[in-house]
């Protein structure tokens, strides 16, 4: 536990010693604002809620989350520090969890810094803050699931660009699987259980349910299982490919 915290601290600090943290947060806030106020018709809707803000999060994350996760292991492999790191007296699980939690915590910080949006809706009207809280929790869980996927991808390559592209492609497929566009393609020919399965596997579906203010156990279980499954895969992949 102590060692996990030590690794977590080092990783989190390393985001802030490079420009990455500041670039990420600024782009996240600016893009988030643009999408919410312009593409999301925030004002025209005349409703005091953050629905248009959260609606774009999966698409925003597709680009931004791989930028956070790509360095987790690829950078260690590129610089050779992975040999130093994994010969320290730590368990592989502690390393994997410490790194993941640092990235997830960073995503959480970026998310918290969107509080001006929340202040804005509260200033303009009387929104249901419970729904907004559920949306924030859903968004953070979505970021966690994507980060876990990205961390596992980052474990198999030395090249951060490859880690970025593969993670973006993979999370795009997982997100898009829940949209009516993709489901429509399946609906034409596949049996109903396939369509249901594709929809159930989608990050988008589970996230959307939460932004409407409903935190249901299946959605929570879904996100937690995705995180755990990919962290386990991450540990296995690091162990298999660390020496290459």
């Amino acid at each position: 536990m102590r060692r996990t915290i030590t690794i977590f601290n080092r990783e989190l600090a390393s985001y802030f010693t490079t420009p990455l943290a500041y670039v990420f947060i600024i782009i996240f806030l600016v893009l988030g604002g643009i999408l919410t106020f312009f593409a999301g018709n925030f004002f025209e809707r005349g409703q005091a809620d953050l629905q248009p803000f959260f609606a774009y999060h999966p698409w925003l994350y597709l680009v931004l989350i791989p930028a956070l996760s790509m360095r987790l292991w690829a950078e260690e492999r590129q610089s050779g520090t992975i040999e130093l790191f994994l010969t320290l007296p730590i368990r592989l699980g502690e390393a994997v969890i410490g790194k993941f939690l640092a990235a997830w915590c960073f995503a959480g910080i970026a998310l918290l810094l969107t509080f001006p949006f929340w202040l804005t809706v509260n200033f303009l009207g009387a929104p249901d803050n419970g729904v907004i809280l559920a949306g924030y929790i859903g968004s953070w869980l979505l970021a966690g699931a994507m980060l876990a996927i990205g961390a596992a991808v980052s474990a198999v390559t030395k090249n951060q660009i490859i880690a970025f592209v593969v993670t973006a492609a993979f999370t795009f497929v997982l997100t898009a699987a829940g949209t009516s566009l993709v489901l429509g393609i399946f609906r034409d020919w596949a049996p109903a259980w396939v369509v249901a399965g594709v929809a159930a596997a989608s990050l988008y579906r589970h996230f959307n349910a939460m932004t409407r203010g409903v935190i249901e156990l299946p959605d929570l279980i879904y996100f937690v299982s995705v995180i755990i499954a990919f962290l386990a895969a991450n540990a296995i992949l690091v162990d298999l490919t660390k020496a290459e």
């Binding site: 060692r3 030590t6 010693t17 610089s79 520090t81 040999e83 130093l84 010969t87 320290l88 007296p89």
Partner: protein, 321 residues
Amino acid sequence: MLEIVHLVKKFGPLVAVDDVSFTVPAGEVLGFLGPNGAGKSTTMKMIAGFLAPSAGTAVICGHDILAHPLAAKRQIGYLPEGAPAYPDMSVAEFLAFIAHIRGLRGARARRRIGEIAETIRVDDVLRQPIDTLSKGYRRRVGVAQALLCDPPVIILDEPTDGLDPNQKYEMRGVIRAISPGKAIVISTHLLEEVEAVCSRAIIIARGRILADGAPAELAARSLYHNAVRLDLSEAADADMAGQLAALAGVRSVERTSDSEGAGLWLFPRGPQPIIAEVAELVRARGWPVTGLRVERGRLDDVFRAITSPQPAASATLRDAA
């Protein structure tokens, strides 16, 4: 303290390490020698628990690195090849990270970091980010990290690579100073380093151990062991060479003209030193000799003979020395 048991590592069809076994007791500094690609680093990676061996294992202070990796790794300080360190951290942050991971915290950690930084001479760059450091400083930060928590087993892959001659001299002093009570393995290309710090040397090539002994023992396997060199102000005449060759202890005489000038090499017949009889003859004849010395043997000579793939080269080794 450190026991290597039949280590084997295969990368596909390539056998990088082929049945390597040795034991390093406390107090010994073992020099791990070999040409590039001999399997030195691969062996060290397996001892440190980074690579899983194809067969065999390493036992560190009674802990098998495969069965109890955490307990074994606690006993090892390891400098990996190339001295990797997190470039975005300062030296102090980096050492603090290593100390925390190894369970050293608070005032004790700070005191120990101060001590080691002073010993390894990185105290003047403690606040600098590692990516701004010179190669020599980075190497020393890597060594500092390995020695930080005073582990009983220390594995250093090329600890003096990239250091200037003064820094090399200091680093060797540090290694000698910490060696009592510890088992230390260092790999190097530098034979003078082995002679300067190691109490034992292992020569490895193509994954196999080819020689194992004290540096002086290995040097004694050189053709030049106990040979006498005569420096002459002018080239030796045939008569001089003939009279020297006729001495009881002298097996052969070889004329030479190298960077040290003209001279003669006198090779002894047996293990007895021949310098006394040579000196006596030189004095009696009044030859123009400007220098006279005994060669202890040349490690580089032995190294080349053992590790070069051509069997002909082994001719320069004295048989059954």
